[in-house]
């Protein structure tokens, strides 16, 4: 493993035209730029963009990415369509979902549910649900428990099909 940052973070504005069609307008900032500065830069740039386009800016996102060019090989036969879906319970009673691509067979019960007593699964959700962890539901509510955990399959896209088919 050799995780490293991409050299630039991206600022994306989502534009929308009169028909409701959306498009992306992308800019880049040096990766060392803090998020606070990046947000100020985005605020400065947005009106300048709006002055030259008939479209309207409806959203923005700033993305900092890292990658591992020296990652090891995936386990033979692994398929990312094979998901381990976990529905978590938030403190406010709402649900939050996470899906693990390529879930290991060793974590599964014969029924297709996930074995919650499995040590690796237990360690994962002990870590996620730890009150000191910074993971949360989409609305910011703390994650407090696992409601459901099961295997589910996503259909393969054309790009995922074997090249020698």
């Amino acid at each position: 493993m050799a995780w490293g940052s991409l050299p630039a973070a991206s600022l994306n504005f989502t534009l929308e035209d009169a028909t409701g069609s959306s498009s992306k307008l992308q800019f880049h900032i040096p990766v060392a730029t803090t998020i606070a500065v990046a947000l100020v830069n985005a605020s400065d740039l947005r009106p300048l963009v709006e002055a030259v386009t008939d479209c309207v800016v409806v959203a923005q996102s700033i993305t900092y990415s890292m990658y591992d060019p020296l990652h090891g090989p995936a386990t033979a036969g692994s398929r990312i369509e094979n998901k381990g879906v976990v529905i978590m319970r938030a403190a406010n009673g709402r649900a939050s979902r996470v899906a693990i691509p390529g879930i290991k067979e060793a974590l599964l019960n014969p029924s297709g549910s996930i074995d919650r007593a499995n040590a690796d699964f237990a360690a994962l959700f002990t870590g996620i649900l730890d009150p000191t962890a910074i993971f949360c539901g989409a609305d910011g509510s703390d994650l407090v428990g696992v409601d459901k955990a099961y295997q589910a399959f996503r259909h393969s896209t054309k790009a995922m099909l074997p090249t020698d088919r």
Partner: protein
């Protein structure tokens, strides 16, 4: 502008080189260093549970404009202003302005209706911001100067 809470997104690759993604939300006010550290922790916890391997991690700070604005009649995202900038060490950067206004285009001369008017005050203001030293191309090279600007039609 209403800020959403930050999100960690991950890409994993399987033995067929297919890419799968997963994501988790982060608590309010999380700075980038804390988010990156949380990502490393998360990868370490998930790795024993998957046969795929992690190849990419992103921290995404999103916001939406509220109330949602409505584009004026005639706004057309297929009309794209292509701005080509030179960058450090001979690199280039391309900015694609969807829905470019008609008044940004030259009205006379051989490039009328096609070339973007580089003297238009709105274009000058945008270009000056982009060459201010704050912006770079995807490879991290500073944007230096506008080299070419013209209309493209995307269909």
């Amino acid at each position: 502008l209403i800020a959403q809470r930050a999100q960690l997104t991950f890409s994993l690759v399987d033995s067929s080189d297919s890419i799968g993604n997963m994501s988790v939300w982060l608590a309010d006010g999380v700075d980038l260093d804390a988010a990156v550290a949380a990502g490393a922790t998360f990868r370490g916890l998930v790795a024993p549970c998957t046969d795929a391997v992690f190849v990419r991690q992103s921290v995404v700070y999103s916001a939406v404009v509220s109330p949602r604005p409505i584009a004026p009649t005639g706004a057309d995202s297929s009309r794209v202003g292509g701005l080509i900038f030179s960058c450090d060490t001979g690199e280039l950067d391309i900015i694609e302005l969807h829905g470019i206004k008609d008044e940004m285009l030259m009205t006379t001369g051989p490039g009328a209706g096609l070339l973007i008017d580089r003297t238009n005050t709105a274009i000058v203001a945008l270009v000056n911001e982009l060459i201010s030293g704050l912006w770079c191309n995807p490879f991290g090279y500073d944007v230096l100067a506008l080299e070419s600007a013209y209309l493209q039609i995307r269909r």
